[in-house]
């Protein structure tokens, strides 16, 4: 049934988008959690530099970011040279390169909700956990992470939705190769270019509904979390 709705190229494009968004969320969870924790708790002056760097992808035009990433990952860039030295294929124009670009481009969408929720924890709950014999790592997983649940959910959903809709960086880095680096958002652009408005509509409504459903779930679960942990007074 799905096969009759979408062309096989569209299905592959949707699958690439889905895979890209999921992997980006997972990688950013691993990467941003310690960095956001550091940004939320440090008194170091390096913090402002860290915050500005982490927010940079928010304001940079995707083409600027994509261009630098292309230079970086290309055969003559540092990244490309490193890949070559390690005996690996260059990342530009590959799914790996796309993933790398997404991780950089979507970082603020994970970092900021996490940092905000870590900051709003305050130190008291962690001090209490410490006097109850919990080691620093134990305190993080048993107190900080559950209390920052909203940050994790919001960050993951925003990252996922943002990666689904990513266009400029993908085009610059991935080069629109069907079956390999052509994501759903690029496929829509191709349909429009080819005056295939029906195809563009099908993919557009799919992305629209997917993103809306996701945000709906996030806000509903945030509301539940707020009610469950609310302390009167």
């Amino acid at each position: 049934m799905i096969g009759s709705l979408y062309s096989s190229d569209d299905l592959v494009a949707l699958w690439i988008s889905l895979r890209l968004a999921t992997l980006t969320v997972l990688l950013l969870l691993l990467l941003c959690t310690p960095i956001a924790w550091w940004l939320a708790t440090t008194r170091s002056r390096l913090r402002v530099i860290g915050e500005a760097t982490a927010a940079l992808p928010l304001v940079l035009p995707p083409t600027v970011l994509g261009f630098y990433l292309l230079l970086f990952l290309g055969p003559h860039g540092w990244g490309g040279t490193l890949m070559h030295t390690l005996g690996l294929q260059p990342l530009s124009f590959s799914f790996g390169g796309l993933l790398f670009g997404s991780v950089v481009y979507s970082m603020p969408f994970m970092m900021q909700p996490l940092q905000n929720s870590f900051q709003s924890l305050g130190v008291r709950q962690l001090e209490i956990a410490a006097t109850l014999r919990a080691s620093p790592l134990d305190r993080f997983f048993s107190v900080a992470a559950p209390l920052a649940r909203r940050g994790f959910i919001t960050g993951s959903a925003l990252t996922f939705a943002h990666t689904l809709g990513e266009f400029g960086v993908v085009l610059m880095l991935g080069g629109n190769i069907p079956g390999r680096t052509q994501t759903a958002s690029i496929a829509i652009y191709n349909h429009v270019e080819a005056f295939d408005y029906a195809g563009a509509k099908r993919l557009s409504i799919t992305l629209l509904l997917a993103c809306f459903t996701l945000l709906l779930l996030v806000y509903a679960s945030n509301r539940r979390a707020r009610e469950a942990t609310a302390v009167p007074g």
């Binding site: 008291r124 709950q125 001090e127 209490i128 956990a129 410490a130 006097t131 109850l132 014999r133 919990a134 080691s135 620093p136 134990d138 305190r139 048993s142 107190v143 559950p146 209390l147 649940r149 469950a228 942990t229 609310a230 302390v231 009167p232 007074g233």
Partner: protein, 356 residues
């Protein structure tokens, strides 16, 4: 047990220099005004102030000095904070189990049911923090700290965030802990009433320094310390209920140096109790008074006579048995009765208040 510490803690607007040794048993009150440094001392003992220039030694174990810092989670200390902060993502039961689970079974000296019973938490275990009253939350927080089987329990003004009713509700629980468990406690407070009621020893902090250390009954009455000059100044005595008098609704207590009557108590004979006698409720006579409405008369010897803050008043300290009794009388009476150290006299006590 012994706890020695020497803290030298400086911030731009405040300096704390405290060297002290805490008694290894009973409740030590850490008393002082807001801003005297009480909480900082407690936090240093618990290991919540890394980077402080301090030496903390517990029994034979160094917890902190210039080369060593045992982090908070490795110190066998229970801490009860001012605001009863329970973990909001856990119910009362899971809050209680949080510390318990992290203590090796061999080191547990208090079981879950025992702590629940001590703090009267039956029926509250499935509630989350938001569904509990302030007093109930603080009782959960105290039980949670107890369940780590601490060698030392630190309480940082545990009643100050509660309304009067909840405070009165918690004190009996703390007194019961004191009576039934042998865990030494340090109790920070700026309410002299709480300290009089619950503490055995007292450390008096003033502007970041230790002003005095000693048994609470002694420090309360020492004329060179500010406590004896408070409006609510008084003395405390330890007594035992020896007789009930149903006809006049009285109970009699034996205290070292005499016997006093109080309003009839429910407590059984032989039960130890603590009573408080306000300095302004004591009058002095050279002969045993006759035909007086005052029932309680204790014989004693004057220790000293000191000027009070009000120039019309004097503080007279009288030894009753081995305990000091504080009386606030006018300077005129001191002159008329020629009250001086060494004089034998009779203290008439208008009211004796039971404290537990």
């Amino acid at each position: 047990m012994s706890l020695q510490f020497d803290i030298d803690w400086a911030r731009s607007d405040f300096q704390l220099q405290v060297a002290c040794e805490f008694a290894g048993h009973g409740i030590t009150g850490l008393f002082g005004r807001s801003g005297a440094g009480k909480t900082t001392v407690l936090r240093c003992i618990a290991g919540l102030e890394p980077g402080t220039h301090a030496r903390v030694r517990f029994n034979d174990e160094v917890w902190q000095d210039s080369s060593k810092f045992v982090p908070a989670h490795r110190r066998p200390v229970g801490f009860v904070f001012q605001e009863a902060d329970l973990f909001p993502h856990l119910d009362a039961r899971a809050n209680l189990q949080y510390g318990l689970k992290r203590v090796p079974a061999a080191q547990r000296r208090i079981v879950f049911e025992q702590a629940v019973e001590y703090m009267g938490l039956q029926g509250l275990l499935e509630h989350r923090a938001g569904q509990l009253s302030g007093g109930q939350r603080q009782r959960v927080a105290i039980a949670r700290a107890l369940l780590t089987s601490p060698a030392l329990l630190l309480l940082d003004e545990p009643l100050s965030s509660l309304d009067l009713e909840s405070r009165a509700d918690i004190l009996p629980y703390l007194e019961r802990l004191h009576a039934e468990l042998s865990i030494p406690m340090v109790y920070v407070s700026h309410e002299i009433g709480e300290v009089m009621r619950i503490a055995d020893h007292l450390v008096l902090l003033e502007a970041g320094r230790v002003r005095a250390v000693g048994p609470v009954h002694e420090l309360l009455t020492r004329p060179d310390l500010p406590l004896a000059h408070l409006d609510s100044a008084g003395s405390i005595f330890q007594g035992v209920i020896v007789e009930h008098d149903p006809r006049y609704h009285l109970s009699y207590l034996d205290i070292p140096g005499g016997r006093v009557a109080i309003s009839r108590q429910a407590g059984g004979l032989g039960q130890p109790v603590r009573v408080r006698i306000d300095a302004r409720d004591v009058s002095l006579a050279l002969k045993p008074p006759e035909l007086s409405s005052i029932t309680n008369v204790l014989a004693g010897t004057v220790l000293d006579v000191t000027a009070d803050r009000d120039p019309a008043q004097c503080l007279v300290r009288i030894a009753i048995g081995d305990r000091p009794l504080l009386a606030r009388i006018t300077q005129r009476s001191v002159a008329q009765l020629q009250i001086a150290p060494g004089l034998r006299l009779y203290a008439q006590i208008k009211s004796v208040a039971l404290m537990d």
